[in-house]
């Protein structure tokens, strides 16, 4: 599954411009996370058509790239996230970052790890992994 990452300077209006470009091209934002420092921000998104989104943003002057991530459904139970992190850590997989995703009936998270393949296999016995097509069309 591909995540779209966009570099934006911390300047009023930049985030709006990104969403404008996506809307104009009929690309839906499924979920996003905005991380920032005092100087610049990193917008991480799951969108309906990642490759197309990356192209239109790049040609509009926004540095954009696609990154492999995984999406995992997370039951609404106390301590679930802690448990999941524990499993990955036990398997020596580092989490680079994660953010939440609303998947209709429940919660899910998007994860970027040091080894996505291994992360998926470690988590697959206890968690429901979401396929790219499923997520893109949420």
């Amino acid at each position: 599954m591909k995540q779209l990452t966009v570099f934006i300077e911390n300047r009023p209006g930049r985030l709006g411009e990104v969403t404008e470009v996506l809307t104009e091209n009929n690309i839906n934002i499924v979920c996003l996370s905005l991380a920032d420092t005092s100087d610049y921000g990193m917008l991480r998104m799951i969108v309906s058509q990642p490759a197309a989104a990356c192209d239109v943003l790049s040609s509009s002057g926004f540095p954009a790239m696609l990154t492999d991530v995984i999406a995992v459904k997370l039951p609404h139970h106390f301590g679930q996230l802690k448990k999941l992190c524990g499993k990955l850590s036990a398997a020596d997989v580092d989490i680079s970052y994660m953010y939440a995703l609303t998947s209709g009936e429940g919660a899910a998270i998007v994860l970027k790890t040091s080894d996505n393949e291994k992360a998926e296999s470690v988590l697959s016995d206890e968690y429901t992994l979401m396929g790219a097509a499923e997520v893109y069309n949420l």
Binding site: Q3, E9, T37, S58, S96
Partner: protein
């Protein structure tokens, strides 16, 4: 207030007599000893014997910074290397610094020149002088050092950096005179306050000789507020090519900087036509060194904008005064006392492949310190999904800039195509310091 040398109170006729006499000798000297001068004078059709009055100075070709580059390192020197007593250098545009040399006699005259300005600014042999200029190849620190020692004052060569320790010396040793850039002087005052000291009462500073950086009246006022009315601040002028500090300096009347006219002739020219302008008119300052053995400069274009006044001063000195600088004709930036050429920055930026070729340089003054900000565009190929990579790019740039400039810069990464583009000559530098003061 004392006047250090009787030369400072001579009549105009006497001063001009000395100048003409020295000028004639000096022109013959460079014509004989320095090939680039001989070549230039031959091309201009001027012979040393054509210099009959001070006005004839205008017949001579200019010397520029470019000559220092063309004849790097010693091509403009008039003496053999074995005669040199010291070499200083200042940062240059393409990594090559401007090299200047002194004979033993040059060093003595230099110290003498600085002594006069220091005394005009209020220094006495009783003073304990803390020199907070960076020592090293820079002429500022050793210039003031020798000049102050020459008047019998005590010198503390504390250099720059570690401001808290500077303040400790200042307090414990009872420094009465401070040598620093205006911005560093303010920084010292600020840090003293942060340390719980009251600069007005806990420090004994009464004289500040500032230089190497533009001193605005607002800065002077700011220093007075911080250190109290007992601190008298004067600025002095010079540049390494001319000798370092020692060309001119303010007296306590604060009406321009008295020029050491027996060693330097100042002219004001129209920077575009090169024509000499009448007294009182604003233009580029051109300086001829009259006494230097190692590096005798003729009509050196300083690129500093000033005016000249010849009326005797209330302080008793009769030497001409140059107005405090109002700017420079070229684009050199003086940041925290360090000369910075935009081309040096450009060189670093262009070598860094993670960023695009467009950039903007912004200089601000915050908390009395110069802030250098460089806006660059992230190259699309360098796009990443994590901050660590971006930090790596900025850290790498900062490190290279630090190596080349000796300064820390703030790097602002931007998206491609967000910075201004230019047709023809680009204006990439925004210096916000002048307006703010």
């Amino acid at each position: 207030m004392m006047i250090w040398s009787k030369v400072e109170t001579m009549s105009r006729e006497e001063i001009e007599g000395i100048q003409l006499d020295k000028l004639k000798k000096n022109v013959s000297y460079v014509y004989e000893k320095v090939e680039p001068y001989r070549k230039k004078m031959d091309e201009a059709g001027v012979k040393p014997e054509d210099i009959k009055t001070l006005k004839d100075l205008s017949l001579l070709p200019f010397t520029t910074k470019q000559d220092f580059r063309d004849y790097y390192p010693f091509g403009l020197f008039a003496v053999d290397k074995s005669k040199l007593a010291r070499i200083h250098a200042s940062s240059g545009t393409t990594g090559k610094p401007t090299v200047v040399g002194y004979t033993k006699k040059d060093l003595e005259i230099w110290a003498e020149c600085v002594s006069r300005l220091a005394v005009a600014g209020g220094a006495t042999n009783e003073d304990i002088c803390q020199i907070c200029f960076g020592y090293g190849m820079f002429t500022g620190a050793l210039g003031l050092h020798s000049g102050l020692e020459n008047i019998g004052a005590c010198v503390i060569p504390s250099s720059t950096g570690n401001t808290e320790k500077q303040i400790m010396y200042m307090k414990d040793y009872g420094s009465t005179l401070l040598v620093a850039t205006p911005s560093y002087a303010l920084r010292i005052g600020e840090v003293a306050c942060q340390m719980g000291l009251n600069p007005k009462t806990d420090l004994q500073l009464r004289t500040a000789l500032v230089g190497s950086e533009l001193l605005t009246e607002a800065m002077r006022e700011e220093m007075r507020k911080l250190f109290g009315d007992k601190l008298f601040v004067t600025q002095n002028y010079g540049m390494s090519e001319l000798c370092g500090p020692g060309v001119s300096g303010e007296c306590r009347e604060l009406c321009g900087m008295h020029i050491n006219e027996d060693h330097f002739i100042c002219e004001i020219i129209d920077p575009k036509t090169g024509e000499v302008l009448p007294a009182g008119e604003k233009g580029e300052l051109v300086v001829t060194c009259l006494s230097k053995e190692a590096l005798p400069l003729i009509r050196y274009r300083t690129r500093d904008i000033s005016r000249l006044f010849y009326e005797p001063c209330k302080c008793g000195r009769t030497t001409a005064r140059m107005e405090n600088l109002s700017g420079r004709t070229d684009d050199m930036l003086k940041i925290r006392g360090v000369n910075v050429f935009p081309s040096q920055i450009e060189e670093v930026l262009l070598k860094t492949e993670e960023i695009g070729p467009h950039y903007e340089i912004i200089v601000d003054r915050k908390n009395h310190s110069d802030i250098l900000t460089i806006r660059v565009e992230l190259a699309p190929a360098a796009m990443t999904d994590n901050f660590a990579d971006l930090e790596r790019i900025t850290a790498k740039l900062k490190a290279s800039l630090r190596t080349v400039l000796g300064l820390d810069a703030i790097i602002q990464l931007e998206s491609p195509n967000t910075l201004k583009r230019f047709e023809g000559k680009a204006k990439r530098v925004t210096d916000n310091r002048k307006g703010k003061d």
